[in-house]
């Protein structure tokens, strides 16, 4: 291997990371070869840093330093702890799919209930046959690392015309402290499907762990899909997630992301509108405190004409936290009649909070209507005064205004139950603040 060996902060060669895990990584010899290649790419690039434009505001070398070794497979005690955590975080009535420390836990999942509605496999099973799942449309160091190290994930395929009454909830539980979990899931949604996918990231007592997740989602024509992601990792965890989404024609996709945990989190989404007449709505809320760093980076690619995309983001930043929003709307030369709008607003609650916004437009077609807006600022003093004059204590008045501020994004969730669930998360965050 003719590659310069990169060193981590502690001086340990990063290749140890792969060498020590290799025996536990699933896959046929071809898959292992693909993994090795991906790891070499990662090794050559190293963790992303601020000199890499896409990672300008999230310097993983400074924020994270090194990638922790692969978590051990969960033992019985870990699964027991995970089961309790799952119970606490499960959405009512949802079909659960649970990954504990990067390994699919069939006993905690509703495999049977799902079997009648969709085909479910694990990444582990799939990789015994083919390496295709390790390939993605775009790649960078963390995506390569994920391809090299992914231990498990769900491979879910929903047949054409399926109508789901209950959401499918993929729950990532961390039980192992100071270790990394690498997961990669694929969700294929057929034509005319109506479904809701929820992803949750939670900790079962684990501290200082790292999550590197990848999701490949494809949605067929004429579908109506809601996709909700709730990040509630432990306050000292690291979560880097890459999502690759392809949307068919005349489809409605409504995505929402809520970040209330993790010391360092980054959600990078690459969404391609590949079929005409689709309607994409991407929304999110970052609630950050202490020294948390939350990054949402989205690339919405209008590859075909006549699609609508809407993005609404809100960040509430307290203490010394740092919120990053990078949104790019690309309109390809043929994508006429595109309507793309993006709005990102940051609310700074403390003098040491930081908000960085980079909303980009990249437009190669003329018959379009695109725009973005970005604001950053503190709570409006006159509104606060109004509420205080009516007898509300300072913190409560603030909480009320913050709720209204994030409400604009949360309102975009169509499902009543899920919307209430998310509002509940925001309320609890605000209560903790008081």
């Amino acid at each position: 291997m003719n590659v310069a060996v990169a060193k981590t902060g502690s001086g340990r060669a990063v290749s140890d990371l792969f060498a020590s895990a290799e025996g536990r990584l699933p896959g046929s010899p071809a898959v292992i070869a693909a993994r090795r290649e991906a790891f070499e790419t990662y090794e050559r690039l190293g963790l992303p840093h601020r000199r890499i434009e896409e990672w300008k505001y999230t310097d993983l070398r400074a924020l994270v330093g090194e990638v922790l070794p692969l978590a051990a497979s969960p033992d019985a005690a870990a699964l027991k702890r995970a089961a309790e955590t799952v119970k606490a975080h499960a959405i009512e009535g949802a079909r659960k799919l649970v990954l504990v420390d990067g390994v699919f836990a069939a006993d905690l999942s509703d495999v049977k209930a799902l079997a009648s509605e969709a085909s479910l496999k694990t990444l582990r099973e799939t990789l015994e046959k083919e390496a295709g799942l390790l390939k993605t449309a775009s790649t960078d160091a963390v995506i390569s690392l994920n391809a090299a190290m992914a231990t498990d994930g769900v491979v879910l395929s929903i047949a054409d015309g399926a109508q789901f009454s209950a959401p499918v909830q993929i729950i990532h539980v961390a039980t192992a402290a100071s270790a990394s979990a690498f997961t990669r899931s694929q969700v294929r949604i057929g034509k005319g499907v109506r479904a809701t996918i929820v992803e949750s990231f939670v900790a079962a007592g684990a501290k200082a762990y790292q999550v590197n997740d990848a999701v490949v989602l494809s949605v067929g024509d004429n579908a109506d899909v809601a996709h909700i992601r709730l990040l509630d990792d432990s306050p000292d965890a690291v979560n880097v997630t890459s999502q690759f989404v392809t949307v068919g024609a005349n489809t409605k996709l409504n995505f929402f992301n809520m970040t209330t945990g993790a010391a360092v989190s980054r959600l990078q989404g690459f969404i391609t509108l590949a079929g005409e007449g689709s309607d994409l709505s991407i929304n999110g809320v970052n609630l950050l405190k202490k020294t948390e760093h939350g990054d949402t980076t989205l690339v919405v690619d209008h590859a075909v004409p006549s699609c609508v995309s809407r993005e609404i983001f809100r960040a509430v930043i307290d203490d010394r936290a740092h919120s990053v929003f990078q949104g790019r709307i690309i309109v390809r030369p043929d994508a006429q009649k595109t309507d793309g709008k993006m709005m990102t607003r940051a609310l700074l609650l403390s003098d040491e909070a930081e908000a960085d916004n980079k909303p980009e437009l990249e437009i190669f077609a003329d018959d379009v209507s695109c725009g973005h807006g970005a604001t950053a600022g503190a709570l409006d003093d006159s509104l606060l005064f109004y509420l205080k004059a009516r007898g509300l204590p300072e913190k409560q008045a603030q909480a009320l205004l913050i709720q209204a501020f994030v409400g604009e994004a949360i309102e975009q969730i169509a499902d009543d139950g899920l919307r209430e669930h998310v509002i509940g998360i925001a309320e609890r965050w605000l209560e903790q603040r008081q």
């Binding site: 980079k358 437009i363 973005h372």
Partner: protein
Amino acid sequence: MPAVQETVERVKRIDVDQYRYGFETLIDTEKAPKGLSEEIVKFISQKKNEPDWMLQWRLEAYRRWLTMTEPTWARVEYPKIDFQDIYYYAAPKPKKTVTSLDEIDPEILKTYEKLGIPLREVAMLEGVEPKPGEEDPARRKIAVDAVFDSVSVATTFKAELKKAGVIFMPISEAIREHPELVQKYLGSVVPTSDNFYATLNSAVFSDGSFVYVPPGVRCPMELSTYFRINERNTGQFERTLIIADKGSYVSYLEGCTAPQRDENQLHAAVVELVALDDAEIKYSTVQNWYPGNSEGKGGIYNFVTKRGDCRGANSKISWTQVETGSAITWKYPSCILRGDNSSGEFYSIAISNGFQQVDSGTKMIHLGKNTSSRIISKGIAAGKSQNTYRGLVTAHRKATGARNFTACDSLLIGDKCGAHTVPYIEAKNSSATFEHEATTSKISEDVLFYCIQRGLSQEEAVGLVVNGFVKDVLQQLPMEFAVEAQKLISISLEGSVG
């Protein structure tokens, strides 16, 4: 359809008829040998009779430049520039030592006449004062510094400005006559190590304008510099330094043109503005370098570093630019808002047509307390051009009460062009209030239909809409420039409607 036919005809004529300044002036010039080396830097310095400190400053920049690489982050594409294939110094050959303005080559005077600098001002160039009765009261006086290739050929109204205490002269003269001012401020806003092109400029800049406005003085007239590249294969590297001392005001205009040629020429200028307490500088540019022909051949590479430093409290710097020329524009006039309560403004119209590539914008760096900035950018992309707005607004942790408003709108004319917006917005304290909005669209069919229905031709209708689109920025230009700019905009977009 006749309208389409008309457009096709216009497009055919576009490369020859559109650029009115594409002629070449045949005069004897003196050139340094091609290429860049320490010897060339020394040659330029010697030609300018510069003191040793200036030579050392240049050499330091040159050595630094050797270690640097060209920036590649901008959204522009061009073949690699061979920096050894350029003349770094070209000057009209003086017939003898120029002691009076009469001895300037009449060809050069004719050139400026052709460029539309009014005859009256040429009379001024020759030092002929108008008779008192002839003075047109409606016309304000404008002092002109004319830069031809590498040297400043004439500066008008010097005497009158001197009476007010304003120093307005070629920077090469200022280095000799006011070394204390130049030494204090040169490179204090754009350091020699700033970026690849600024460092190159620091090593080889040949001329440019120097302005110093003393405390409390309101500069009695508009100052202006007219840049002209004439010689083949030469690069133009001018350097402008404007200092507005406490409580002073100055408005400065800049215009530029070049002959029509098949090869690309490099223009890498540096402009530094310093505003001390309560001072205000207004800097306007109408950039009309040769943009290349309809196949994208030729044209100027315009790689410019412009930066203003609001060093004093309550100071203000305002940039206004109309960018219609150049094959490639790479330019980010910026404001460092260092003084408390200082403010920065950036008004821009960037028009690209044919194969032009524009990557332009601004930086507003809020460092002082209660600083404010305003960015209005209007990009118009037509033909096969790419037009990018790239901007940074940042508030330092201690810049409490910082405010910014940004609006960048893009208009697309035709389906082969691209318009892009890349803003960076960094708020590092809670009292900063930043607002940013951007839109991109084409001219609405309804609006065009409405205008055409009322008897306007398609071209006129587009002209009307475009003028409305850029109005916010045009209003910021001094009157003399606004008229020229408006004409320029309609010419630049000629043939783009289909």
